[in-house]
């Protein structure tokens, strides 16, 4: 589900949004984001649980936000970038492999992209994921990663250049 669709779905249920509805509407995208950020499924599960837990702990604030999905994504990004985040084993396995549809594309390529991402500094990784996976504007990426817009652009260019050493066919994004 694209961010736009997820946000629209959240908007539709906005008047009576429950925590469970938020998780069901955004959980898949959040977990995929976390996998791209951490490069590790177990760490990603823990990150997503932590983000939703914080959202639940402040549910009154989150549910009243203009965009609860974006708010929760911002929590996830902040947790990922925070050195203080606890490392712990998730309480329940979240990946449901039996429901997974057959992925498209080359599996080796997918693995190598995650590996390539993992070689980037965490903040650069977050910039790329927010900018190119979530298609967020630079200003929003900068705000969520604690960077200035110019620093955000610089990091994005630098990180893209590094990725191109492994993926020379990477096209310029419009």
């Amino acid at each position: 589900m694209t961010d736009l669709l997820a946000d629209e779905a959240v908007a539709v249920v906005r008047r009576t949004l429950t925590f469970e509805e938020l998780v069901h509407t955004t959980g898949e995208r959040m977990l995929r984001t976390a996998v791209l950020l951490t490069g590790d499924r177990q760490a990603a599960e823990d990150l997503v649980q932590s983000a939703y837990a914080q959202a639940f702990a402040r549910w009154r604030l989150v549910s009243r936000a203009n965009n609860p999905a974006a708010y929760t994504r911002a929590i996830l990004t902040r947790l990922f970038l925070s050195d203080r985040r606890r490392k712990r084993v998730p309480e329940l396995p979240l990946l449901d492999g039996t429901d997974a549809s057959a992925p498209q594309g080359n599996p080796a390529l997918r693995v190598s992209l995650l590996e390539a991402l993992s070689t980037l500094p965490p903040r650069d990784r977050a910039v790329l994921v927010l900018r190119y996976f979530h298609d967020l504007p630079v200003a929003e990426v900068a705000a969520q990663t604690g960077l200035s817009e110019s620093a955000c652009r610089t990091r994005s260019s630098r990180a893209l250049a590094r990725l191109r050493t492994s993926f020379p066919d990477l096209a310029d994004e419009s």
Binding site: Q49, A100, A102, A143
Partner: protein, 270 residues
């Protein structure tokens, strides 16, 4: 191939067990809430290293700037846990009530609590350091006063002074008036700024003012670009139904007794 497509493809086979995710996240979220409440009850010991020595309104510019290093002091009370019972207001409970109301609308940490309560009014202030943005903590304060302090009805923007700008006033369904404004006086140095929200409640015989600044007396002139809370957030805080000149929920009063990093601004309270 676009990076967007590469990224999509890289995680195309990632699917969560959504019911399990919701359940486990809720459980962890509840644990976070319980921890906050428990720590509030035992007195926010994490904040013990921070001790304010002055009264914001009396000692601007004094103190140690190191005190602006805010803590994650869990000093608030979850609004969902309020029993509906009330007890006489104190400076301490007003400080906890303010922190709890701020905690409902913003992420950040608290330090430097102050308060005072007299027969007909109460005051509380604290330093709040938002998680977002950059710059020093900002003072957030509340005054609960007799209705007469608001002047005569109708409560409009007409009588606002020259230093108060962006004034707006509107009436709520319950008959209360909300008035918001920006105060650009330089009480804490050039560039200091305060946004304020008043709730004038004839039914409760109450005038309540909450404000947020972009700095604090110990910031040595450092300013944030904007105050630490927005007008909308202050409206949320000021319109909490439990504000009163004389009573506050018992949970705030109990937590206030244990509050550390607290300085009384009245002579008869410690």
């Amino acid at each position: 191939m676009l990076l967007h497509d590469h990224l999509d493809d890289a995680v195309a086979d990632v699917f969560p067990d959504l019911p399990a995710l919701a359940e486990s996240s809720r459980r962890r979220g509840l644990a976070i809430r319980r921890r906050r409440q428990a720590l509030a009850t035992v007195g926010a010991t994490a904040a013990a290293a921070v001790l304010a020595v002055g009264v914001y309104t009396l000692a601007p510019g004094g103190g140690d700037p190191a005190r602006d290093v805010a803590t994650d002091a869990p000093v608030s009370v979850d609004a969902g846990s309020l029993s509906g019972q009330t007890a006489p207001i104190t400076g301490r409970s007003a400080a906890v009530a303010l922190a709890s109301a701020v905690d409902e609308v913003a992420d950040g940490s608290f330090s430097g609590f102050q308060g005072a309560a007299q027969e007909h009014e109460a005051f509380a202030a604290l330093r709040f350091l938002p998680e977002s943005g950059s710059g020093p903590a900002g003072v957030v304060m509340v005054n609960v006063q007799p209705l007469g302090m608001a002047g005569e009805a109708p409560y409009t923007c007409a009588e606002q002074g020259a230093s108060l700008t962006d004034c707006r006033a509107w009436e709520l369904a319950n008959g209360d008036t909300v008035r918001t404004y920006r105060d650009e006086d330089t009480e804490m140095g050039e560039g200091s700024e305060r946004v304020a929200v008043e709730v004038i409640s004839p039914d409760r015989r109450l005038r309540l003012v909450v404000g947020a600044m972009n700095t604090n007396p110990y910031a040595e002139g450092a300013m944030r670009a904007v105050p630490v809370l927005t007008t909308d957030q202050l409206v949320e805080i000021a319109t909490q139904p439990w504000w009163s000149r004389t009573e506050l929920p018992t949970e705030f009063v109990a937590a206030g007794r244990q509050l550390e990093d607290y300085t009384s601004a009245s002579a008869d309270e410690s």
